[in-house]
Symmetry: C2
Subunit: 322 residues, 2 copies
């Protein structure tokens, strides 16, 4: 199979999106957005962002998920994507599984793959996601938070980092059947994160600021606070953590994963207390669990509290080139 | 320097494009297109698409150029781009030069870098380019050619492939001063190709089909013919080749580079004979050299002729996973 055969066989599927005027197969795709567009690019590198032996359907899923998560964090609706896939060889089983993971997630959120690039080299996957935002809607930036705003997160935190830890110590965790089933749930959260697409879109016009949690709550809330020029007080007892995480790991590990672990792709967002009911209604309508975990403050510092006692923040989020 | 410092220092420059509502620094960029958008992604991998020791400003230039070329080949105007840069380390001299090459080309064509991603791994650069196309303009697809249409190319062919050959045999070519100067011109065409941005835009509404020449004329004309469901007769004596190419290489090498060599990023396009004057006027206005090299035919086969004698086509264009 050369690159053109691979594209035809695995990456050319019809779309019913009538806004796609030209899709895969020409020099570029031609799309008709209604309103503004929201664009982001993310890269996964083998052995940096996922284990080299990760299931290929998970690699396909995850590569798209991380970009959709960024679109969601802007309050936009993802519509289209392009895929730049660099791989060391053309293995049809791998490609079949990769494409099935990729298209399954794309189909779930009505996203069309409209173009891409296939090259030979070390396994690296970049996905550009393109969303649309109606002319009247304000984007959900990181910089709109104000002191006094409530700080919220969707879902549960720390599962993905714990899942990665389970993967790394594979054998130990899967030796016990009960633990194995719980651990598998965490591993799935790491390998196949679900971007909060509906939640992000629902929060547009309600939340004051938002960011997706890819580097860990402490790091990503830090970005939000810096952009919003304020600080935050977070009650660590309010952090939403799954039963699986709590039952498999010690209290200190749970805290470390929840604050410092990346890859959850939950949303962290803020809203004034007066918007609390609208937040609940919007997220309730999309079936998204969420929890208020603290408050933005004037002082530009993030303080983690257990009751009135200060908890030292864990290691910062993942840094490339740290 | 961690990734955030690198982004702040090297990849955050103000844009005067008022259609950029949010640029670098949030979860995603927010842009206001006027009309349709045209999107493409391309990846350069070290030691596959460029020598690992290529000057970093050339890597930055080239990574953007190849994507702008695709936008040009659709007849659209490039406006914005995102950059996914994966690199093994954070070397400030390298980054400074890479960014300067990237921004110099972007500035020349009024393209704003609006977002990106920086990760640790083997040197790989993906650029998504986003162009706009007015509502009334037809995109320049590969599939609009009809039998009887003239086949044209812009600029000269084979220089980039010859430049790469010079790079590979470095030392031999630079030993002679005169030859060295000519060879340097070819090497520059390889390392810093100029995408035919104005020409592509000018041909919108005039040309019947277009493709950019990244894999070699024989291969890319093949794509155009397949999409247009026709063939072509090409007069190899009409192929435009530079003085430098002709003076440094044998007749057979010249033909091999001109037909089989990729990386020129010239445009190959077609137009009915009745449009010949409009083609000349449009390209003349942009100062783009061009030449008619043949005709599209009904029979789905590409024939290369020298006078009435058939010339065997050279090796096909570059194929990943061939």
């Amino acid at each position: 199979m050369n690159e053109f055969e691979i594209i035809r066989r695995y990456f050319t599927r019809a779309t019913d999106d009538r806004a796609v005027e030209i899709g895969v197969g020409d020099d570029a795709a031609v799309l008709r957005p209604d309103g503004r567009i929201v664009v982001t690019i993310d890269t996964l590198v083998s052995d940096v962002h996922f284990p080299a032996d990760a299931p290929p359907d998970a690699v396909g899923h995850r590569a798209l998920a991380v970009s959709l998560s960024d679109i969601a964090a802007m309050g936009a609706r993802p519509r289209w994507c392009t895929l730049a896939l660099t791989m060391p060889g053309a293995d049809s089983d791998w490609l079949e599984a990769f494409a099935s993971g990729f298209y399954a997630l794309a189909g779930r959120f009505g996203v069309s793959l409209v173009g891409g690039n296939l090259t030979h080299g070390p396994l690296t996957v970049s996905v550009e996601a393109i969303g649309t935002l109606p002319a009247e809607a304000a984007p959900l930036t990181r910089g709109g938070g104000r002191p006094g705003d409530d700080v919220y997160v969707t879902g549960t935190l720390g599962d993905a980092a714990a899942g990665l830890a389970c993967l790394k110590s594979r054998g130990e965790t899967s030796a016990q059947a009960d633990v194995g089933a719980l651990a598998r749930g965490l591993v799935t959260r790491y390998l196949k994160p679900t971007p909060r697409v509906e939640a992000g879109h629902a929060l547009s016009g309600i939340a004051s600021a938002a960011i997706d949690i890819s580097d860990g709550l402490a790091a990503d809330l830090g970005h939000l606070c810096r952009s919003s020029r304020c600080g935050a007080e977070i009650d660590v007892d309010l952090l939403p953590c799954s039963e699986a995480l709590r039952s498999l790991f010690s209290v200190s590990d749970v805290l470390r994963f929840a604050l410092g672990g990346g890859d959850d792709y939950e949303l962290c967002f803020t809203a004034p207390p007066s918007a609390a009911e609208r937040v609940a209604a919007a997220l309730g309508a999309t079936g998204t669990p969420f929890r208020r975990i603290g408050t933005l403050t004037e002082k530009p510092e993030i303080v983690f509290l257990r009751g009135t006692e200060r908890v030292e923040p864990p290691v910062p989020g993942y840094l490339h080139f740290a």
